[in-house]
């Protein structure tokens, strides 16, 4: 048995040139290998062949037997003995293509001058390169009402459509969201929605991108720019841990649009609508422009950089300090914070998990995730994918697309452990193991997995005691692969950078003396602090108890935790140095505010959930804003410590030099799962997750995007609904000791003990409103 996959190669002749391609390759792509471009519209390498537009007709013979008529090269796989003549060598193919092009244009409007696609339009390009300069059509063109909104963010101009069905095929085959379809028949055939169901797919933007004409346009980019006025920069998406390759298009310093980039091993050619259409936050929010210092009157006043840096250094030196960073910190910036904590503040008190988290999770990350190598390819090859505390479509959409691809291709088995059946799991026809919130651990034990199975664990797994221990035990007993997929783009990088109390960079346990020596040597530090650091919640508690006096905070929203009262109290009490792009709950309470660069203004990388580096360059040139890393270096310098991380490149180089840890790994102390709650009539156990499109801070100002968010509802089971006399649409009030939210009811497949509500959507911000997210007992009443 060999490890390499054996691929049958087939040699064909195209326009007189031989080319060898793997069996199954379509003629149109074999031609590409030779640099021969056959014009096409409906063909897309990631969609099933359809052969609808007929633009790619070529002449083919096989072993001397010629097809009697030209064939669509996008639908025919190569065969031994095949001789292909494209438009370049066959007058028949050339005439056929010219004929199709002419037909495509007879009903196409001549509105290129006002069309968003103009300048980057496959129809325009191919019409110019291989069409007639004049049309013989003198008749009446088909007309439709000019653009109609098929969602708040996508417009459809049916006159421009060439009916290639890329958009409808994408929606069905890739996203499993057949909200747009071909309607009517013949020359009146048109793309459309059902009148009462807009195109609210999380992936709708891809259809705009793959539309080969200007039929589908994005509301936020419409009429904004010409493609040739834009400067494109390859970038990485900062919205989640999927790790999409992106392209950011900027005109005169302003981002006008973002597109999915191509990376076959990660996002292929797709991204989600949040990644595509949520970028205005960079410019929409009132960005912090200058450093500020809180004066003796307690007021924040503008300060010079030297003043502010000196004040920050002084405050951090004055008492025991800790570091809190958010989940969107780049790998390099997180490394800077990690190093800063250890050598400038002499502490391991650092945590990147500015969200609900647990010590069990910290141990799990240190033992099972840091340095782990589970990838998208493992999903492609999996015999079974298990989702634990994780809703891929909502929390890591490209992971969803990848699972869906395998589900559609080979009925990949998916099991979801949870309390509420989600739309995404329904689309994957997943096995839904329904448990009460808090009882997930029991369901995990004993799942029949193999070494080819993959367990995908979300950050919400930390919200139920014992779940991560159960995952660890299952992985160990079955050899199944484990991956941890946090919501935010920076968390995996921060973990690898050691921006957490129990780990140094490179997965080295703080508690391991040789690990400390390793890193101390790298950093030219005499020694590193030995005590395992505090976690997020412990840091706030230590400030409130007086054990800590200062906080260095970067990109944190204190309302993202379960106990925001304690967090805000700590921020009020401590000396706070805040590195931020915009005013926040932290800057309001900060003693020193240092403005930093937004993602588009700096270079760096994220590590996606696989641990794969997603590098990006500054999309906006000449920004005056500095990266966190640069500012940390300056504070350190002010404190008399040399961080030696002047640039992102320097940081990246230093990170690369760390190498993998071959010493002993930390071990995990298993945690038992929580107790079963006994519930009264109107008591429920709360469960929730964040919707992809919600009130997330990076979605600020994106009204078109918000228009396609899923409905905000409170979900209870049919049995409980019956006993409460509730039907769909009734108003339900969910209350905790802290407060209440009121939402319309939806009676659906959910555990009888559970009530589900979106965690951070309009009218349902559970952490703030209820001080709870998962596992807490709440009361539900019909009002």
């Amino acid at each position: 048995m060999t490890t390499a996959e054996i691929v049958d190669m087939i040699t064909v002749v195209i326009d007189g040139f031989e080319v060898s391609v793997p069996k199954g390759t379509l003629v149109i792509r074999a031609a590409e290998q030779l640099g021969i471009q056959i014009p096409r519209f409906c063909d897309h390498p990631l969609l099933d062949p359809v052969g609808a537009c007929r633009q790619c007709l070529v002449d083919i013979e096989i072993n001397g037997r010629a097809f009697p008529k030209p064939q669509a090269s996008c639908t025919i796989p190569v065969e031994p003995g095949m001789i292909v003549k494209t438009q370049l060598t066959s007058p028949v193919a050339d005439k056929a293509q010219q004929g199709v092009m002419e037909l495509l244009l007879i009903n196409h409007p001549l509105d290129c001058p006002v069309c968003d696609k103009g300048g980057e339009c496959p129809l325009q390009n191919q019409a110019l390169s291989s069409g007639h300069s004049e049309s013989r059509f003198q008749g009446v063109k088909r007309t439709f009402e000019k653009p109609i909104n098929i969602s708040s963010q996508v417009l459809l101009d049916r006159e421009r459509c060439v009916l290639c069905a890329r958009c409808t095929r994408f929606s069905e085959q890739i996203a499993s969201d057949p909200f747009i379809t071909l309607n009517e028949r013949g020359a009146l055939q048109q793309v459309g929605i059902y009148e009462k169901q807009p195109f609210t797919s999380y992936f709708s933007g891809n259809t705009v991108q793959i539309c080969p004409v200007g039929a589908l346009t994005g509301a936020s980019y419409r009429f904004r720019a010409r493609p040739f006025d834009l400067v494109s920069t390859p970038s990485a998406c900062e919205h989640c841990a999927s790790g999409c390759d992106m392209r950011t298009d900027v005109r005169r310093g302003k981002t006008l649009r973002r597109l999915a980039g191509e990376d076959a091993s990660v996002n292929e050619e797709w991204n989600c609508d949040k990644g595509r259409w949520a970028f205005k936050y960079v410019t929409a929010v009132d960005r912090l422009a200058h450093p500020q210092i809180r004066n003796s009157d307690g007021e924040l006043v503008q300060a010079s950089w030297p003043e502010a840096l000196a004040a920050a250094a002084q405050g951090l030196k004055a008492s025991a300090s800790a570091v809190l960073i958010g989940g969107r910190t780049t790998h390099e910036d997180a490394y800077g914070y990690s190093k800063f904590a250890r050598i400038a503040l002499n502490t391991n008190d650092i945590d990147f998990r500015s969200r609900v988290s647990s010590d069990e999770e910290r141990e799990f990350l240190a033992t099972h995730i840091v340095g782990s190598t589970t990838t998208y390819l493992d999903i492609d090859r999996a015999d079974h994918v298990v989702l634990v505390g994780f809703e891929p479509e909502e929390e890591s959409p490209i992971v969803f697309l990848r699972i869906n691809k395998q589900f559609r291709k080979r009925a990949l088995k998916v099991t979801s452990i949870g309390s509420k059946l989600s739309i995404g799991v329904e689309k994957l026809k997943g096995e839904f193991v329904k448990v009460a919130p808090g009882e997930e651990a029991t369901a995990i034990a004993g799942l029949p997995l193999t070494a080819k199975s993959v367990i995908l664990v979300g950050e919400r797994a930390s919200e139920s005691a014992g779940v991560l221990s159960a995952v660890a035990a299952l992985a160990s007993s079955t050899s199944a692969k484990v991956a941890w997929i946090p919501r935010r783009a920076g968390e995996r990088g921060a973990l690898e950078a050691g921006a957490i109390g129990n780990l140094l960079p490179g997965g080295r346990p703080v508690s391991d003396a040789s690990a400390r020596v390793d890193i101390a040597a790298l950093w030219n530090a005499p020694s590193l602090p030995t005590t395992v650091g505090r976690s997020n919640d412990e840091i706030y508690a230590a400030v409130n108890s007086g054990d800590l006096g200062a906080l260095l905070v970067g990109g944190v929203d204190p309302l993202d935790g379960l106990n925001s009262t304690a967090a805000l109290a700590a921020l009020d009490k401590a000396f706070v140095v805040s590195l931020e792009i915009a005013p926040s709950e932290v800057t309001q309470r900060a003693n020193v505010i240092l403005p930093v660069a937004a993602i588009t203004e700096k270079s760096g990388s994220f590590l996606n959930w696989e641990g794969r580096a997603r590098k990006f360059d500054a999309a906006v040139d000449n920004s005056l804003n500095r990266s966190d890393l640069r500012i940390l270096s300056m504070i350190a310098q002010e404190m008399g410590v040399s961080l030696n991380l002047g640039t992102v490149t320097a940081a990246a180089k230093e990170i690369a030099s760390i190498g993998t840890w071959d010493g002993a790994r930390a071990t995990m102390k298993p945690i038992k799962s929580g107790k079963t709650e006994s519930l009264k009539d109107n008591e429920f156990i709360l469960t929730s997750w964040r919707r992809l499109l919600d009130l997330g801070t990076l979605q600020k100002g994106e009204d078109n995007l918000a228009g396609t968010a899923r409905q905000c509802v409170a979900v209870i089971s049919p049995k409980r609904a019956a006993s409460l006399g509730v039907v769909d649409g009734d108003q339900l009030k969910i209350s905790s000791a802290l407060g209440a939210v009121t939402l319309p009811a939806l009676v659906e497949d959910i555990h009888d003990d559970a009530v589900w509500a979106p965690r951070n959507s309009r009218g349902s911000q559970l952490l703030v409103n209820l001080g709870a997210a998962h596992g807490a007992v709440v009361t539900v009443v019909k009002i």
């Binding site: 359809v50 609808a52 537009c53 030209p70 037909l103 495509l104 008749g139 088909r142 071909l182 020359a187």
Partner: protein, 426 residues
């Protein structure tokens, strides 16, 4: 002189011919009983030996099609009967099902046995309410009599007005609950047809021919017809003739013979042009009266046997008007999937309308022919090809008439003269 040989139509003149009693009275369901005792492969061989070819237009050997179904593959197999009779001029399956639905049911039972299918579907066009009634009642009665339900389930699926669903892969998509648009081939239905399972799709007349073959033997069947076109078939004569109707005869009969038997062209008129097998088959003229109407004969003369829909037009008919109307039909029925057919028919209609109205030019004729060249063989399925047939063949035979429209500044024909009720004071 070829004689008419009613086999399928033998008992249509009995008042209750469509009932199970009448069908049984004439030996109905004996053939299926016989077939069920035979090895399925022997049934296939018998149909192969009979020489039966598909009556839906393409003429593919029926037994060979059955033989393509993989055996022992542990998959469900399906039989689908194409009763979506919609090709202009074609009107044979409709009277057959109206008068004798049970022969189709019996054919289905035999075919299912042969191809090891437990499930058959009849996809019937939706615009024939009474035929649907008769077919449904017959299925009910066949279930009651135990012919169905003991190994073969038969479902009548009623279409809803889409000519394209006569194309077998479009039919399958339609039957699966999708828009009836043709599928890519390969895979062919024999490998991945209905629900992606091995499927035989046969025309009504093909399946209805099977019970008689089983009952009378392959030799009997292949003793009729011509060398490569065996058996009898229904020829549908319509248009400017004294007596239109259904004429069942061995393959190879000529139009001249059918006209002689039936009473000829409308009295006082002469044959101008005709279709041998529906509007998608290139038209013929008087010169083709003696063309043998079998697969090879018609093909050799430059057209196709198609559905043997003999639409007869006399000298009162304007060929441009006729062709325009057919082209409008193709435009209306184009499914929209592929560019040449969808856009091409849109354009063809506009040019032909201008020509008919005398607003065309001679250059338009060249443009028409070039457009047809860009549609024929460039479309996804045969619908686009069919749309070009009337145009190219009519220009071939009646170019002068097109020119006459241009020089005359309009249509030189009196439309009243071509109606059935001319002179009746309608």
């Amino acid at each position: 002189m070829t004689q008419l040989v009613p086999v399928l139509s033998a008992h249509w003149d009995e008042k209750d011919s469509f009932t199970i009693e009448a069908y049984t009275r004439h030996g109905g369901y004996k053939a299926s009983q016989k077939a069920l005792t035979m090895d399925p492969d022997a049934v296939i061989q018998m149909v192969k030996d009979s020489g039966l070819r598909g009556r839906g237009g393409a003429g593919f050997p029926t037994g060979m099609k059955w033989g393509f179904i993989p055996q022992g593959d542990n998959k469900d197999h399906y039989l689908v009967v194409n009763a979506d009779e919609s090709e202009p001029g074609t009107c044979k399956d409709t009277p057959l099902l109206m008068a004798n639905p049970h022969v189709l049911i019996e054919g289905c039972i035999i075919a299912c046995h042969a191809i090891r299918a437990k499930h058959a579907f009849i996809y019937i066009r939706g615009e024939v309410t009474h035929v649907v009634r008769r077919m449904n009642q017959a299925i009910e009665d066949a279930y009651k009599a135990g012919h169905l339900g003991n190994g073969v389930e038969l479902v009548l699926h009623v279409g809803a007005g889409a000519y394209i669903c006569g194309e077998e892969t479009a039919l399958l998509d339609s039957l699966e609950g999708f828009r009836g648009q043709p599928r890519l081939r390969p895979p062919f239905p024999a490998i991945a047809g209905l629900y992606a399972r091995p499927t035989v799709v046969n025309n009504v007349e093909s399946i209805a021919s099977v019970p008689a073959i089983i009952a009378n033997g392959a030799e009997w069947y292949q003793s009729m017809g011509t060398e490569k076109s065996k058996g009898t078939t229904l020829y549908s004569l319509s248009g400017h003739v004294n007596n239109p109707g259904q004429f069942e005869a061995p393959l190879g009969i000529t139009l001249r013979e059918i006209l002689e038997l039936s009473g000829g062209i409308r009295t006082g008129h002469t044959l101008k042009f005709w279709t041998p097998g529906g509007s998608s088959t290139p038209i013929f003229t008087q010169d083709h009266l003696d063309t043998p109407l079998d697969y090879e004969g018609v093909s050799a003369a430059g057209s196709m046997l198609g559905t043997k829909a003999l639409q007869i037009f006399d000298e009162t008919t304007c060929v441009v008007r006729a062709v325009l109307r057919w082209t409008e039909f193709y435009k209306h029925e184009s499914c929209g999937k592929c560019t040449p057919c969808r856009e091409g028919t849109w354009w063809l209609v506009q040019i032909l309308r201008d020509l008919e109205a005398g607003k065309g030019t001679e250059a338009d004729l060249a443009k028409l022919l070039d457009l047809c060249d860009n549609i024929l063989g460039r479309s996804f399925c045969a619908l686009g090809d069919g749309a070009t047939s009337p145009i190219t063949s009519s220009i071939k035979y009646f170019r002068d008439e097109y020119i006459a429209h241009i020089t005359h500044g309009g249509c030189p024909f009196d439309p009243v003269a071509s109606t059935l009720f001319v002179g009746v004071g309608a």
